[in-house]
Structure formats: C-alpha cells, structure tokens
C-alpha cells in the first residue's frame, strides 16, 4: 500500500499558473497607474491575495498534499488577518 497519494503536477500546469500570475501582476500595475486612491489600494491588495492563493495551492502543492498542510496554513492566515484587522480597527478608532 502506498503511504500517500503521490500527485505529480505537470510542466504545463506550472506554466499555466505562471502565465496567470504574470497577467495578474500586469493588471495590478495597470490599475494602480489610474488615480482611484482608496479603491486602487484595495484592488492591488485583493489581486496580491489572489496571486498568493495560486502560489500556495499550486506551486506549494497545498491543493494536492495531505489536507493537514492546507488546514494549518488557513488557520495561520486567519490568525495573521485577525491580528492585522484588530490593529487597524484600533488605529482607525483612535485617530
């Protein structure tokens, strides 16, 4: 019996993800060249989060590995988001 399902990502899969990542990067640059202030910061960070998700799931193989890695990563990301969120709310409240 094999100890774990051994998924091998193909070269093409990696190249496709790379293409999407580069495209998203160019979109971010294009968006931030337009003056939209707050909206464009939000858009840039949203796209960055999207890119990070792609890297985590495909390049870092979380989508195909044992689920424990994915669950732990999500928990850590929730922790980071909570800490950032609470700090930001605190500062907005004070100033």
């Amino acid at each position: 019996m094999s100890k774990e399902p051994n998924h091998i990502s193909g070269y093409k899969d990696h190249l496709m993800i790379l293409g999407v990542l580069i495209l998203l990067t160019i979109i971010t640059v294009a968006i931030t060249q337009v003056e939209l202030t707050a909206l464009n910061t939000a858009a840039a960070l949203f796209i960055a989060a999207l890119k990070a998700t792609l890297v985590l799931l495909y390049f870092m193989h979380l989508k195909f590995d044992q689920k424990v890695f994915l669950i732990m990563t999500v928990l850590v990301l929730i922790l980071i988001a909570a800490v950032i969120g609470i700090t930001v709310i605190d500062y907005i409240d004070r100033y």
Binding site: I8, Y11, H14, T25, N40, L45, Q66, T73, Y91
Partner: protein
Amino acid sequence: MNTKTGNMENVIQTHPAHPDIHRDDTASKLGMWLFIFSELLLFGGLFIVYSVYRYMNHVAFDLAHRELSVTVGLINTIILLISSATVAMSITAIQKNDKKASLIFLSATILLAVIFLINKYFEWGSKFEHGMYPGSDLMGMLSNGDMLFFSLYFFMTGLHAVHILIGLGLLSASLIKIRKNKIRSDKYSLLENSGLYWHLVDLIWIFLFPLFYLIH
C-alpha cells in the same frame, strides 16, 4: 510474507550504505511548513508596522513611493514568479525521474535569483549614490513620514533579500545533491522543502511589490 521480506531486501539492496528505515518525508515537510508559518508571522508583523505608519503619514508615503521605479519592481516581480515556476518544474522533473531536466530547471531558478539580486544591487546602489541609505545625513533630514517610508523600504526589502540569499544556498545545495544522486525520484525531500522556502520568498514579494512600488 514472501513479498514483505522481498521488499526489505530490496530496500537494503538499493541503499546499501544508508537504508533510511527511519526516514519520514511527511514529517520533514511538516517541519518546513511550521518554519514557513513563523516567517509569515515575522513579515505579517512588519506589514502591520507598515500599515499603521502609512495610515498616520499618508501624504508622505504617497510622495515617497514615487521615488521607487515601478519598472525595476515589475521586472523583479516577474523574475521571481518565473523562478518559482522553474523550481516547481524541477520538482516535477525529479518526480518523473528526469535528472537532467531537474538540473536544468534548478539552474535556471538559481540564475534568476542571482539576476534578482543584481537588479536589487543597482536599485539600492542608485539610492545610495543620492545619499539615501539608512543612517545617512540625508535620511536624518527627511520629514518623519518620508524617513519611515524609506526605513521600512530598506528594512523590508533588505530582509527579503537576505531570504533570497538563504534560498540561493538551499537551492545550490539541492543542485549539488541531485548531481551526486543524493536527491533522486524516490528521495527528494530536500529539493521539495527548498522549493517551499523559495515559494515563500516569492509569496512575500507578491505583497512587498504593490505595498512599496504601486499603491498610493
């Protein structure tokens, strides 16, 4: 019964000097992930510092970020993304038992990492030439907001560059071990974990690039 002893003999035959009965790839990957989490928390903390100071010095941060070249930042972003893909492909190659392809992809990753650092050298170098470096007289004369922006810029991209150097070390060690057949299709934990580290370096840059070079 027979197959069991057959397997054991097989293990000992293929790895006579080092049977590796206690090897646990999943555990070593788990260890790597735990380390990556600690790195995420480290940079997460720095992102909080950045966000708070940005919120308090919005105008200064907006003006200061125009000093950075979007083109250089964009080129470096694309270099890191490609290098992330090539290291992933190097792992695919070793899983498919294609040593040559694995070496080529890994060498490409290392080359791209070096190009990233060369770009960084010129980028920082031009700032240094204008007297802009941590602790310089010019930095001392800047307004509070400008000084915070550039201090955070040097610190965060500098810390990221240190990670690139460490990643270079790990990838080079993997390259040597593939050459010596110490990393093979049935034993590639070091390459996989170095790859994870390299993706982390890419992951951090994905956020550093818009925060410092783009948003205003």
